[in-house]
């Protein structure tokens, strides 16, 4: 009954249809946003054959300039988009026909709408800052040019992902991001752990990719097309089972890219890459792709409450899972990675709540992009001053030695825990509020997650910048060069001010042409009371960290006689063990069994057969003894046989 009303509502036009107008004016340069970083990647990666020295000298500036150029274009288009009326805010550009096979006609089409607009700003803006930071961070790396080539490739792939107007184009960017992340996580390939982490990320991502490719195949058989526009129009005509399957397959895809449980295991290992890569993967690109996919597919998810419920469950589990990991890790980057998982969980949660949540998912994605990039780059700056040590137990009292890093990191910290007034406060508060209005249990879990966030981020902050010094004598902490601190300052400012997007419900109205307008759900309590409760829970988390970490001595070595919970969290909540037990071992046994069957069964039949024929012919060839009279005898015998047979036939 409930399902029917929703489907009927969809036919009534509650779900917005993608209907782009042709690109003109500044929008005709849409393709250039992708082409710039792509050209940068090509020049940096392939140009080395022509002018290696010159490229080594200016390559990093070239790589930064292409992304900055894309940012300039994105900004110009954003401003131009704001000047348009709401009906004209979806702009499409047809570049060329990608391929035509039978009934499937796939064009290289771009779609620029409010959702892509915000993503473009985040990807190119934060991406450009990370590029600038990398110039300083990778200064002493002999392969810096290649690094920038990969970064450009990463950005270009992500831009294809968010600009494409059909699912196949999204898939192209999706795979490109997977490839670039593989190259970047394993950038220091001489380290065995980095190579293994890159492979792990790639393989786990493939599992998600299967979901996306199956979803695309299902779309083609159901709708005969993969265009957003056509599918959003006819999604209501598909059967409920198809829609459920589509929603769940897309969720599987999102789980892979966005590191949601059960495909979360790659994210913490991905910290093996250089720190700017972690910032790029965790803040501006890659992990946000899953959230993008769910929000972009709103015309499917709005019709399938089953898949939406699945999204919410996955998101809730992930946001708590990631938060618990963040509490136990001593590696500063891994603690931040756990926090990313948790925050992406918040976004997915909001995205699973339907039209009421979509804008807040994107809002939190943007603010998270700012403060998480800020904190990752800050962590890189700390490592830079601490001889690349990542163990927080070896830090302590760094606020005096790295004032700029400390202050900018503090802005990110206040933003992520949701200190009133900072960007994260607005975005997370909105998600918890929406979740409480939809479902009490989910809302309470989100609330609990906020408290844990307060705890682990305060722990990280205290262990790094406060408490007494614990570093070795030969370490001389120092502030990072200007090239690294300036992006930090910009990102810190954005972390503080990101909340302005919610002023006047700007982002909700801005995204309305894409995500639709939500019917109003009354939260169980007044919004102000909820905000107060959230703040109190966060304060409790912060206070707990203060008493459990700040007030105690922190040993340089992690204590081993700890509770089961701590041990579990240190072991990633046995995520790897679960994968090992449920997938790897059975897979290995299956493959081992197949190999044995192949060796014994298939090879046995084939080789045994040939051996039998060989043996028999060894016996038979003895008949060819070279004596002509024995041949004559067999000839006679044969002739007699024929005669006897003839006689037998004729006389019988």
């Amino acid at each position: 009954m409930n399902l029917q009303t929703i489907v009927l509502a969809a036919e009534g036009g509650a779900i917005p249809v993608v209907h782009p107008v042709d690109a003109d004016g500044v929008f005709s340069l849409l393709w250039l946003i992708i082409a710039l970083p792509l050209a940068g990647a090509v020049v940096l990666l392939l140009g080395g054959a022509l002018a290696p020295r010159a490229l080594d000298r200016v390559g990093h500036w070239l790589g930064t300039a292409t992304v900055a150029g894309s940012f300039g274009l994105s900004l110009a288009m954003f401003v131009s988009l704001l000047g348009r009326s709401e009906e004209e805010r979806q702009v499409g550009q047809h570049l060329y026909t990608w391929f035509e096979v039978g009934g499937l006609d796939v064009g290289m089409d771009l779609l620029y709408d409010p959702l892509s607009a915000l993503f473009l700003l985040l990807i190119t803006g934060v991406g450009a800052l990370i590029h600038v930071y990398s110039i300083g961070y990778m200064e002493h790396d002999a392969r810096r040019r290649r690094f920038f080539g990969y970064l450009n490739l990463f950005v270009a792939a992500m831009l294809v992902l968010v600009l494409s107007a059909n699912y196949l184009g999204v898939f192209l960017g999706w795979e490109g991001v997977g490839l670039a992340s593989y190259l970047l996580i394993g950038f220091w390939q001489h380290k065995h752990s980095a190579a293994a982490a890159a492979k792990k990320a790639f393989v786990i991502n493939r599992v998600g990719d299967i979901g996306l490719s199956l979803a695309i195949a299902l779309m083609f058989t159901t709708f005969g097309t993969t265009d957003f526009a056509a599918i959003s129009e006819s999604a209501g005509d598909a059967s409920q089972g198809t829609l459920n399957a589509l929603g769940l397959l897309l969720l599987l895809a999102a789980c892979g890219k966005s590191a949601q449980v059960p495909l979360q295991a790659w994210l913490l290992d991905a910290m093996e890459g250089p720190t700017p890569v972690s910032a790029l993967i965790h803040a501006a690109t890659m992990v946000t792709a899953g959230v993008y996919l769910v929000v972009r597919s709103n015309f499917i998810y709005d019709l399938t409450p089953t898949a939406q419920t699945a999204v919410v469950i996955v998101a809730t589990v992930t946001l708590l899972w990631g938060a618990v990991l963040g509490c136990a890790k001593d590696d500063i980057k891994k603690a931040l990675a756990g926090s990313t998982m948790s925050q992406i969980g918040y976004m997915m949660l909001a995205a699973g709540l339907g039209p009421a949540g979509y804008p807040f998912a994107i809002f939190h994605l943007l603010t998270h992009g700012f403060f998480k990039a800020n904190m990752f780059l800050g962590a890189g700056s700390v490592m830079h001053g601490m001889n690349d040590d990542v163990d927080m137990r070896h830090y302590g009292g760094l606020s005096k030695y790295m004032p700029v890093t400390f202050l900018t990191f503090a802005m990110g910290y206040l933003a992520i825990i949701g200190f009133p007034g900072f960007s994260g406060f607005w975005s997370k508060d909105k998600i918890i509020e929406t979740a409480l209005a939809e479902n009490l249990v989910v809302g309470l879990c989100a609330l609990l997650g906020a408290g844990i966030t307060g705890f682990y981020m305060t722990r990280l902050m205290l262990m790094t910048f406060f408490t007494e010094k614990r570093w070795a004598d030969d370490v001389h902490p120092h502030e990072s060069p200007r090239l690294m601190t300036v992006p930090l300052i910009v990102l810190a400012a954005l972390s503080v001010l990101g909340g302005v997007l919610i002023l006047n419900d700007f982002i909700v109205d801005f995204l309305a042409p894409v995500t639709g307008v939500a019917e109003h759900h009354e939260p169980p309590l007044a919004p102000l009371v909820i905000t107060l409760i959230v703040t109190l829970v966060v304060a409790a988390g912060v206070a707990a960290a203060w008493f459990l970490v700040g007030k105690r001595d922190i040993p340089r070595e992690a204590p081993q006689d700890v509770s089961f919970a701590t041990r579990a969290a240190r072991a990633d909540l046995y995520g790897d063990a679960i994968n090992e037990g449920l997938v790897v071992q059975p897979g290995r046994r299956l493959v081992g069994g197949l190999a044995t069957f192949d060796r014994v069964g298939v090879d046995g039949v084939v080789e045994g057969g040939s051996a039998a024929v060989g043996g028999m012919s060894g016996v038979l060839r003895r008949v060819q003894n070279g004596f002509v009279r024995s041949y004559a005898l067999s000839l006679l015998g044969g002739a007699l046989l024929v005669v006897l047979a003839l006689l037998a036939v004729n006389l019988a």
């Binding site: 009279r629 004559a632 005898l633 006679l636």
Partner: protein, 98 residues
């Protein structure tokens, strides 16, 4: 009346056959083969007489022509073997085997 010819032909054929299987001298084997061929010719001519047409006789001519050609080649081979091995025994020429 033709029965006797058929019996004679069978006897000749059998003699030839036994000769081919038992004798080692290539020339004798060869002569036995000729004997068998002529036994067949005799049978063919007899059948032609029996049926009152010329089919058998024509076949007999063919056999004779082919036998003549075969004799030329066969004797040449036997002579060559004899020249190289100083022996006309068919059992000595048994190198071509497994």
């Amino acid at each position: 009346m033709t029965n006797e010819y058929i019996v004679l032909s069978a006897i000749l054929f059998t003699i030839g056959c036994v000769g081919v299987l038992t004798r080692r001298n290539a020339i004798v084997v060869f002569m036995c083969v000729e004997l068998m061929l002529n036994a067949c010719n005799l049978a063919l001519v007899t059948f032609a007489k029996q049926h009152g047409n010329l089919d058998g006789q024509i076949a007999a001519f063919f056999v004779m022509v082919v036998a003549a050609a075969e004799v030329v080649i066969g004797l040449a081979i036997i002579m060559t073997i004899f020249r190289t091995r100083r022996s006309a025994s068919v059992d000595d020429a048994s190198l071509l085997k497994y």
